[in-house]
Symmetry: C2
Subunit: 165 residues, 2 copies
């Protein structure tokens, strides 16, 4: 038996771009994929995520975490956003898989104060630890994104598709 499907990737349209930006805007956490420097294997962990001042993902991570160590060795990573609610088929819920390189902004960096203020304006509880020396803000230099809008609705997006107009 075969379902005789060709490439499942559809041409990108404004609806897909709006869906992708909405998934980033609504994010409060995401699944980060990095390469484990000890084994070369992927490692997926959960990180806090908000849409930063530029509309693109902004996270706050600790040097004590396995993902941050891995990103120091190799900044290539993937971030999946778009969480199913408790109801309905989770596989039909839209999600976006971003791929790119992590960029850290540490304490003392000229951009740190502004990004930290923005982050805690959205996530006030982070004030408890954003001042710790081992916590850095992390952005993603996005190279490509795979949007899955539900069964049979896949799109490959560029960084430009994700930038608010």
């Amino acid at each position: 038996m075969s379902n005789d499907k060709a490439s499942p990737i559809r041409p990108t349209d404004d609806e897909a771009r709006a869906l992708a930006r909405g998934l980033i805007n609504q994010a409060r956490f995401g699944a980060l994929g990095v390469i484990d420097p000890d084994t070369g294997m992927p490692l997926v962990t959960r990180i806090a995520v908000i849409a930063g001042p530029d509309g693109l993902p902004l996270s706050l991570v600790s040097d004590l975490s396995a993902h941050t160590s891995a990103l120091r060795a190799n900044p290539a990573c993937s971030l999946m956003l778009g969480e199913p609610s408790d109801k309905g088929d989770p596989l039909t819920h839209p999600r976006i898989s971003l791929q790119g390189k992590a960029r850290f902004t540490r304490h003392g960096d000229p951009r740190h104060a502004d990004l930290a203020t923005y982050f805690t304006s959205i996530q006030p509880k982070a004030k408890l630890y954003i001042g710790f020396a081992d916590f850095s803000l992390m952005e993603l230099e996005i190279e490509q994104a795979l949007l899955n809008g539900g069964f049979g609705k896949a799109f490959i997006l560029t960084p430009q598709d994700l930038t608010p107009a």
Copy 2:
């Protein structure tokens, strides 16, 4: 400012093992991390997951998906399970990051019929497509797991820790 923490990994105990097995048992989907064969970068996507007959993760994946193509080139992967509810701080919700190698069971394989029957007994909707030639059952040969039971509660588990007694 520093929080002066040493290694965040705690010694594994029965409570950690029970939490890990519970996260696998309750899973209906997860975040899969693979290495993109075209770029060498990680890619995180969502897949359906249940606890298989052996109590370990069992998924159903399509050859048309980016993750399955990647796993054909390199079976090393990571699977994060444990989804926050709509309430509370998502970063305090327990999750487990499995690392291992994907093992596929295809149509015609002697184990396929039993695994497919088991899968659809838990996820009856999968009967709609489990018979398609491009869909395979996928298990994970787990090599290591990182359990995060909430802030400050991290454990490194072995495959034996995850096997039901």
